[in-house]
Subunit: 209 residues, 2 copies
């Protein structure tokens, strides 16, 4: 299912483990609204309206508007971490694993650019303890990617003098896809993934064919 069809279906796939149905419709509506206008510019009335409910219905499923953002951030970052974690744990050379990691991570940010925009750019709206929790997930994603790059540097596959700096740059490059990507643009998510995988492999000085 493409991102557009999925959105029309209320994010059935992406938010599959949010139940009951009304709670899922609210998450899906909130993601859309937050991505479009930003967290602070989005009203609870707008979210409830998009989900086809009255404003008060939101508070049956979520204590506050911030809790909605927290749930979205948690689920989204767990998906992102899972993608990166799978790549680091996979078989293959560091070059293969880095290419796969970037391809998957960048194309996820394109395919799910609505969700990605919210979880990457609305973090500061979280309360302090929720923020700390999410930051931990981000640190784990960073550590996974750094592991691959460190492996490549150790085996001599990569030419990376500054491993943390290179990791930061690669992560930053992929994350920022969420900011500029548009479904109406000339590139498909897979094309973005392929382009970025090639760019990053050259960036770390890997031998490419």
């Amino acid at each position: 299912m493409g991102a557009e069809a999925e959105r029309a279906a209320g994010g059935r796939e992406e938010w599959a483990d949010v139940t009951p149905d009304a709670a899922r419709r609210l998450v899906s509506a909130a993601v859309e609204a937050f991505a479009e206008r930003g967290y602070h510019a989005t009203t609870t009335r707008d979210i409830a309206g998009r989900a086809g409910m009255s404003p008060a219905a939101l508070y049956i499923h979520y204590k506050t508007k911030e809790e909605l953002l927290y749930r979205i951030s948690g689920i989204g970052h767990e998906q992102a971490l899972r993608i990166m974690g799978a790549a680091v744990a996979a078989e293959g050379t560091a070059t293969e694993r880095l290419g796969d990691a970037v391809r998957a991570f960048a194309s996820w940010h394109a395919e799910h650019h609505t969700t990605a925009r919210v979880i990457q750019y609305e973090l500061q709206a979280l309360g302090p303890e929720h923020y700390a929790e999410i930051t931990d997930l981000r640190r784990r994603t960073d550590r996974a990617l750094r592991q691959i790059i460190q492996d490549g540097a150790d085996t001599g596959e990569f030419r990376a003098d500054d491993v943390p700096g290179t990791t930061l740059a690669v992560l930053s490059l992929c994350v920022d896809v969420a900011r500029w990507f548009s479904a109406d643009g000339p590139r498909t998510p897979d094309e973005v993934g392929a382009l970025y995988a090639g760019l990053v492999l050259r960036m770390v000085g890997a031998e490419t064919v």
Copy 2:
């Protein structure tokens, strides 16, 4: 003058051509507040308070809160465009010019990360016609960078199959510095510029020493 000292001085250097003094203090206060909390989460009372004025004083110098953001965006993007434009117009090989452009552009986004964060991530809060004006400045920055990369591809210095895509990636990489950079972090703006210049030159397949 470093960014910290300059902020303490009310952005005297960065906003030098904003007059009178009260208007400059307001711009400077607004940039700080917008960068910290985001446009929509910032109140006019907060901006005026930081500038040492009553809430009403803001409206003597600016018609609306949005106009403040517009002024900031205009000045900031003009600075960014000037940096990129200087690099494209400079003498030298494409490799040298791209290296200089990325070094200057990335380190500007680090040094002025407060301003950069506002002009790069709060754009959507602008009204439609102001948004269109700012978008035009951004397009010109993009065109300048693309010119350098195209030059390098033409002379055979660079290996870039997808020039617009590569341009987008390089720009995205530099812009995103504003999101993660912190003055308390381990890297100085100059170090970020040097790191990024090296990464980007490898990314485009330039021959480096």
